[in-house]
Amino acid sequence: MKILVPTKRVPDTDQKIVASADGLRVETDHIPHVINPFDAIAVEEAVRISERLRDVEVVAVGIGGPEYEQPLRTALAMGAARGIIVQCAKPLDPWNVSRLLKAIVERETPDLVLMGKQAVDDDANQTGQFLAALLDWPQATFASRLEFIGNELRVDRETDHGIETLTLTLPALVTTDLRLNEPRYASMAGIMKARKKPLETIAAGELGVPLEPRVEVIRYRSGDTRRAGERLASLDEFAALIAQAAGIGG
């Protein structure tokens, strides 16, 4: 079995992020970048499957510039077998990302595409759905549990109404939610091995997919970054505040 895991490199959203003065971009240069947390969950799940079942190859793919080596090396250190960078200098919207990914799927013919439900930088939550539609594959979004039963895949999805269980025939596409697993930290052996694992670079142009932008970013604006919270000096102060809010005592 082959599992393809698309990954995105995103700024660490726990850092303070602001829009540039002209509003045309988000200032992220000074901020550490990480593998999109939902993608890390997808990598973890794929690696766990490869540890559980025989003959499973996990292939991680990223689209962007040379800096995409970083999230791919993370995926390789966590246990993916090889990586593919689709070199593309232009920023892409989810539609075009899924079209490029479709071309990769056609080259790699995986049985399962496992990817984050969304990237935490733009929170679009579209790429998985677009890709499944383009491939005409069954899809299960927001997965919180995966299980192979024979040739089928049983997926629990988190919905607003509770857990929905779907059975998919392969090939299929699944997007991961937060509770699916807790991604591991790579071991030293994992990191050393990752340095020798193959990382292939393909120019986006070679994939024969003419880009057709559908989303245009007009402007970024920083939200109010002040958090409503306040730091208290002691538990007593905290208890007093709670008591006050609840109308008890003082």
Partner: protein, 422 residues
């Protein structure tokens, strides 16, 4: 703000060093203002594990730490919080060199009346059922050690400091040190000038940059540090009073935390940070380790050798922060010869939490009395003043990084042929 604010002392930095110093100075009637660029305790202080091992190679340092516990007991009473958790501590040896080290330590401790004794592997495994012990050659146990809870310590310093009239200003970076010839006159912060005859640079990892504001060289470097905290696991319960462990061979230390275990490492190849390159509003509590961080991998590998149930898939959180190292792992407390009124208090090399109670007292003595009741020779701020090899940043950083990297490792390097005594 148009008119300058005046005080007896301005403290740059609201970490444990600045807070303790402020509290002690105010206790003797001084008017003190603490200026903090972020929130109180947002520097190293907010990241620390707080381990307290009182027995040090240097007898005076041991005295400072033991007295620190007394001060903390007093703070606990005054502030009504539990700060010190007396878990006791164990040092373990899995190599003959480490066993020798333990034998020497026990002998030294006993000679100064410090409670410490050898512990057998059986005793150790009874105390710490969650630790691998089959490879131990020796161990020693000190019942009076433990850890200090950094947040509680900070809250006690603040509570008592406030009661004594200390003023704390957060989100107020100091950007200039005001000098009048070779005398300090105060500081300029982002909201205006503060005038005082005494300025204390307690800027933690930033302290070398603060020193540069007065053209002074403070030989410290900002060093990355990592520990993990496992989530409580019914299969491996960690009692809240389980002894802290130091395993110098694996470079590890541990202590209990909320039913889980903290395991930290003194990395042989530590990360060096350039504080100048961090954003002005850098928030240390938001530092995060990558899933494929070499430092975390090293920590996990070492932790797994001592605690086989811990690996990369164990539910845990990773804490990373920046600490301040000096070339000899001892802090800088006091003045430089060429500027009057400017005191430094920094460079605690991974021990600032537990040193801070006594250091605050020492600083107040140095500032108000010109001398201390402690022998401060080994922590004087000017011990590298104008010393060749300790002047430019590159050479300073190289020495501090080497010290940090060897911090737990010392014994593994080949030693000169024994000269009879040890």
């Amino acid at each position: 703000m148009s008119k300058a604010i005046t005080a007896d002392a301005i403290i740059i930095g609201g970490g444990v060093a600045g807070l303790s110093t402020a509290m002690q100075l105010a206790g003797r009637g001084a008017k003190v203002i603490v200026l903090e660029r972020e929130r109180i305790g947002n520097g190293s202080t907010g990241r620390a594990a707080g381990l307290l091992g009182q027995l040090r190679g240097n007898a005076e340092h041991t005295r400072m730490l033991m007295d620190g516990v007394e001060i903390v007991r007093e703070l606990e009473k005054q502030a009504g919080v539990e700060i010190f958790v007396p878990t006791g501590s164990l040092r373990i040896a899995e190599t003959p060199e480490r066993a020798e080290e333990i034998a020497a330590l026990v002998a030294m401790g006993k000679s100064i009346g410090f409670e410490i004794d050898h512990a057998s592997a059986d005793e150790v495994s009874r105390m710490l059922p969650y630790m691998r012990t089959d490879d131990l050659l020796d161990a020693c146990y000190s019942p009076t050690d433990g850890h200090i809870q950094p947040a509680e310590l900070v809250s006690a310093y603040l509570k008592i400091g406030k009661a004594r009239g200390v003023e704390y200003r957060t989100h107020t970076p100091v950007v200039q040190i005001l000098l009048d010839g070779d005398r300090v006159r105060g500081v300029r912060a982002t909201d205006g000038e503060y005038h005082a005859d005494v300025v204390v640079n307690a800027g933690g990892p930033w302290s070398y940059l603060n020193a540069e504001l007065a053209d002074a060289v403070l030989p410290t470097a900002a060093i990355g540090h990592y520990y993990l905290t496992t989530r409580p696991d019914p299969a491996h319960p960690v009692d809240r009073l389980s002894p802290a462990i130091r395993d110098r061979h694996l470079r590890l230390y541990t202590r209990p935390e909320s039913g889980g275990l903290i395991v930290g490492i003194y990395d042989p190849e530590p990360e060096l940070h350039d504080m100048r390159r961090l954003p002005v509003d850098f928030d240390m509590s938001r530092m995060k380790a990558a899933r494929d961080s070499i430092q975390v991998a090293q920590l996990l590998d070492a932790a797994n050798r001592r605690f086989p149930w811990i690996d990369g898939r164990t539910p845990m959180s990773i804490t990373t922060g920046i600490m301040t190292f000096t070339p000899d792992a001892r802090p800088f407390c006091g003045k430089m010869p060429d500027i009057d009124g400017l005191y430094h208090c920094s460079g605690f090399s991974g021990h600032g939490i537990v040193q801070s109670p006594t250091i605050g007292l020492i600083m107040s003595q140095l500032i108000l009395d010109g001398e201390s009741t402690y022998d401060c020779e080994s922590i004087e701020a000017d011990r590298y003043f104008d010393v060749p090899g300790y002047v430019n940043r590159v050479e300073i950083e190289e020495k501090c990084v080497r010290m940090a990297g060897n911090y737990y490792g010392g014994v593994e390097r080949p030693r000169p042929v024994a000269s009879g005594s040890r």
